[in-house]
Amino acid sequence: MKIASLSLPQLRQRLHSTGVVINCGPFNVRILSNIPAIGLQLHSLYADFPLVAEEQFVDFEVRVESPSHIRRYLRSQAVLHCDDRSPFKPLPLAQAFPMLEWGLNWVISSHAHAHLIVHAAAVERNGRVLLLAADPGSGKSTLCAALVHAGWRLLSDELALIRLCDGMVQPIARPISLKNKSIDIVRSLGESIVIGEVCPNTAKGDIAHMRPPASSVAAIDLFAAPALIVFPKFDASAQFSCVREGEAHALLELTRHTFNYALLAGEGFDAIAQLLECAKVFRIQYASFDQALPEIERLWLDAL
């Protein structure tokens, strides 16, 4: 049974009572919320996610709530709890859904330590993975959305999980988070793209999420090995360039993008070194998709 097989009122009712358990990569997470907007967004963006069976182990409970009735009239807020911890300060009620997404990211990035947790998008084709690792604002998620639209399988747009035991990438397939101008850029890619409600003026600007393709969600159990790593950099005024990155520099840059590098210590170093043995690394500076996508295609065919 999928989220979409519940009606919107049924989904909201469940979120309010027993919660809804979905799979987020390595973890099953129970989501509870009394906020109607959460139900609406989940219903659309997580439509293809299966409801995790009753007998399965639930790893975390995440609650996004609007605290009190009085507060609701004065200045409505949303609060997120996980394990009775509140990793974030309360946010305006309108930002409840982005808050849930950040909360799910937090759950993964602070607990999935059987993996190297890399701040990177991961997409798959021909059974191998392309990683796009970059600082925020480099166009990583936008590029990821374009690749997924072009037929690549979405593994993750934000957190690439590389299993320590065998170097395989674990799919998460949650919605792709888009910011500011990239929302309209991705929307214009085609009719089949579904984007949730735009949430303006968050700490990261305007935010909206793109629904992952049903085929990516259905393949959530298919792990794949990395073959290519790209450090993309979007700059509207810059000349296009693509250069091969040396292993040492690539290693240093990847340590910077790895959330649990310091925690994993030597094991983390070994995992990145192993990753660089099976994946070539390139640095691409681009001003438009028309430059970046054909170049990635060329590098990909070369890498396989």
């Binding site: 390595p26 099953n28 007998e55 399965q56 182990f57 639930v58 790893d59 975390f60 409970e61 394990d83 009775d84 911890r85 607990h111 330590h113 059987a114 925690l263 994993l264 210590a265 094991e267």
Partner: protein, 360 residues
Amino acid sequence: MKPGPLARHFLATLLCEPHLAAQLNVRDWERLVWQARSAELLGQLHRVLKAANVLVIAPEAAQQHLEVAANIASKHVDAVRWELRNIREALGPVDGPVLLLKGAAYCASGAQASIGRMFNDIDILVPKPTLGLVEGNFIRAGWLPSHVNKYDDRYYREWMHELPPMEHKNRSTVLDVHHTIVAPTSGIRPDPSNFFEASLPLSGEWAFFRVLAPEDMVIHSASHLFLDEFHKGLRDLFDLHSLMSEFSVDPMFWEKLIARSEFLGLAVPVCDALRQSVRLFKTKVPSDVLQNFERRHCAALNQRARLWLFDQVLRPHHSSASNALTQFARWIAFARSHWLRMPVPLLAYHLSHKLLRRDD
């Protein structure tokens, strides 16, 4: 899980009777992992379940959480050892004993309590006269006094038993430098030279450091827990249980512990620690020893209130382990810790300052 004592102190019971894990269903395992994660006891739970050969019966997902916690904890131990080498280097020329306290001491002396445990900071104890020199050496080695305002700086230096926490500029590791083991303003002022005199040298790589004698180690840990606000109450009590279980191989340990705590004026928190550790973890304290000790130090008057408070605040910080009054009890414990820490005029001054002046 059927109602009863196992349900009431679920995590604590499994930590001392791991064979009961055979009775758990998948919902119980979830609750166990959630509570252990909230209480920072996942790594210790792994140690106990593994030793009892029951880890293998856990659902795969629960095993994964436990294994990861144990792995991270072992890396914490490596990181603590690395910092101890740095501390040794930074303090090289200081003349005087350098004692490791709490987690760092368990770690360097190879105590059971260090296995599976997470470490947030490193605590050391030095004689007050060397404090200035020690602070200077740490600053030169990159540990900078954490950003505290003037009032907080005075709070630490004049009234508390430690310097403001020092944080390393590159590695972000935190050092707490103490000159005695309880806040002098609490009115309990054991002479710190007692601790230095009874302290024991470590061997091998850690010979530069000393640790508190076993009794003093327990007394320190107990005083910290039962005079303070129970922030990680169950974790700290489990540390105490592990320490006492290990030290009591010496048949004289209990008598020495009791005599020493009475000598130092810290019998009440030690008595609380023994009772609670016996209640929650079934620590093997000889019953006549405990009864005698209780009769002398735990006044009958407010026992019910105290027991209620300790029962509440020693639960894991998780909704599945709390009831309607838990939040209230935590508030009481917080107020109590301040009450015990300072005389009334100072407390009034401290609270009014915190209330009226946010920063300076």
